[in-house]
């Protein structure tokens, strides 16, 4: 059990997402940086899909109401347990009454903007349509379908029984699997249905120029700023199904990337889709930063997904070995 004592806006309970419900018009939600949430759960020995807290406005303070083991991943927020500084991407044991505090994200060697707090056993909120993620648009899932507030108390599921060994960490996958073009963080993109309807100049700019993440960016979508993307001829489409990662271009020529809380349908033309395996990279890109798009294909997109999975599997294997070695002393 933890109690939120200081929280900014927009912190939510998230797992890896409510997949399989788009057919009922229910968006996926889920952690913006799925790799960070999964890593926090691996540090604790939880199922990778256990629910944690996604924090995107700082500072954040939580009082640990009971003895517990927790993990902090995502942006490096100079975490402190009472006065003791904790390294980033770390699992830690705490005693009842201690306070965890996260400060402003440090943009040292990995500019990131969202932190994750995971707890032994996962955060216990009812699963709705197979997921504990907060679905803000529908006001269900998570804690009462809403963002967290001061005074909220969150319980945990049954301990997984191995988190007694704590005090170690992981290297963030962003540093292990960097993707950078001309010094800017990049994400891989598949050309989408209307890609061929854009002028050659627009296509070249899409791949060749930097895109700034504007302040009108959030869990629903990122509005980007850059060269104007013009179609060869104006397009009018009927609304159709869309998924997180789809890059739409409204008539102003400035692209919008759909993110985790995207609605499940839209009518703007689609120039590309950020591959699922790179959505976590985009999910950490801070407002005001610039990114690049890299053209990819189906096979590379599948390989990138498999690379993420094997990174997580290796992390889980090494964490289990470490627990066994330390636990047997």
């Amino acid at each position: 059990m933890i109690e939120i004592i200081s929280i900014g806006a927009l912190a939510t309970v998230q797992d890896l997402g409510r997949t399989g419900a788009l057919k009922w018009g229910v968006g996926t939600a889920g952690a913006m940086d799925a790799m960070a949430l999964a890593s926090g759960n691996i540090l604790l020995g939880n199922d990778v899909n256990a629910a944690g807290i996604e924090i995107q406005v700082f500072p954040f303070q939580a009082r640990l109401v009971e003895d517990c083991t927790f993990a902090i991943t995502g942006a490096d927020c100079e975490a402190r347990l009472d006065s003791l500084p904790l390294p980033p991407w770390w699992v830690c044991q705490a005693e009842a009454g201690q306070t965890l505090e996260l400060g402003l994200p440090r943009h040292g060697l990995w500019p990131a903007c969202r932190a994750y707090m995971c707890l032994d056993g996962g955060i216990e909120v009812p699963a709705v349509l197979g997921s504990r993620s907060t679905q803000l648009r529908g006001a269900f899932g998570g804690l009462d379908g809403r963002t967290l507030q001061n005074g909220d108390r969150l319980g945990t599921g049954a301990t997984n029984g191995v988190a007694g060994v704590a005090g170690f960490g992981l290297v963030p996958p962003a540093l292990e699997m960097p993707l950078v073009v001309d010094g800017l963080p990049a994400v891989r993109v598949l050309p989408a249905a209307e890609y061929a309807c854009y002028t050659p100049e627009a296509q070249a700019a899409f791949w060749g120029q930097a895109w700034r993440i504007t302040p009108q960016s959030n869990r629903y979508g990122y509005r980007l700023e850059g060269p104007r993307l013009d179609p060869i001829a104006p397009m009018e489409l009927r609304s159709h199904g869309i998924v997180p990662g789809v890059i739409q271009v409204p008539p102003d020529g400035q692209p919008i990337v759909q993110m985790r809380d995207a609605q499940p349908s839209g009518g703007y033309p689609k120039i590309g889709t950020v591959i699922e395996a790179d959505l976590w990279r985009l999910g950490q890109a801070p407002i005001g930063s610039r990114i690049r798009f890299v053209e990819t294909n189906w096979d590379e997109a599948v390989a990138a997904f498999e690379q993420n999975e094997s990174w997580l599997a290796e992390a889980r294997r090494l964490v289990a070995l470490h627990r066994m070695r330390v636990g047997s002393r």
């Binding site: 490096d76 003791l84 390294p87 980033p88 991407w89 440090r106 040292g108 060697l109 990995w110 005090g167 170690f168 960490g169 992981l170 290297v171 963030p172 996958p173 540093l175 292990e176 990174w311 290796e314 992390a315 090494l318 964490v319 470490h322 070695r325």
Partner: protein
């Protein structure tokens, strides 16, 4: 260490352009100051009032002076550390295992290089505990 190696050590340091060399072991301390005004000084002495301690590697791995996300060293030479504080890290693939200070004290010398591959029990850090 026999005293007759000091001349040889000094020559190596001069060749490498290193002005100062300090080695602190559990019971002795050697300091060579080649760049000093006196034209080179060698000091050999008892380490200190309190015996220095060595922090050894708790496992094999790649020894890191700083966290991979940060440019700042966790515990540079001369820094005061608390008992249980993380003063270095051992990296094994994506896993980071802490090297912790056993007591409150001062980091005197970091013996292993940043990103050096070290084995279990390798001497990583010389550490001067505070008098308790």
């Amino acid at each position: 260490m026999p005293f007759d190696h000091i001349a040889e050590l000094s020559a190596w340091l001069r060749e490498a352009g290193i002005d100062e060399f300090e080695l602190i072991g559990p019971s002795m301390r050697l300091r060579l100051d080649i760049g000093s005004d006196q034209g080179g000084v060698a000091e050999i002495g008892r380490a200190a009032e309190q015996p220095a301690e060595i922090i050894a590697a708790p496992t094999f791995g790649v020894f890191l002076h700083r966290h991979p996300m940060s440019n700042a060293p966790l515990a540079p030479e001369g820094s005061q550390v608390q008992a249980g504080q993380v003063v270095g890290l051992l990296r094994i693939g994506p896993l980071l295992v802490p090297v912790t200070s056993p007591k409150e004290g001062v980091i005197t010398v970091i013996l292993a290089a940043h990103e050096a591959t070290v084995g279990y029990g390798s001497e990583l850090i010389a550490f001067q505990p505070h008098e308790s």
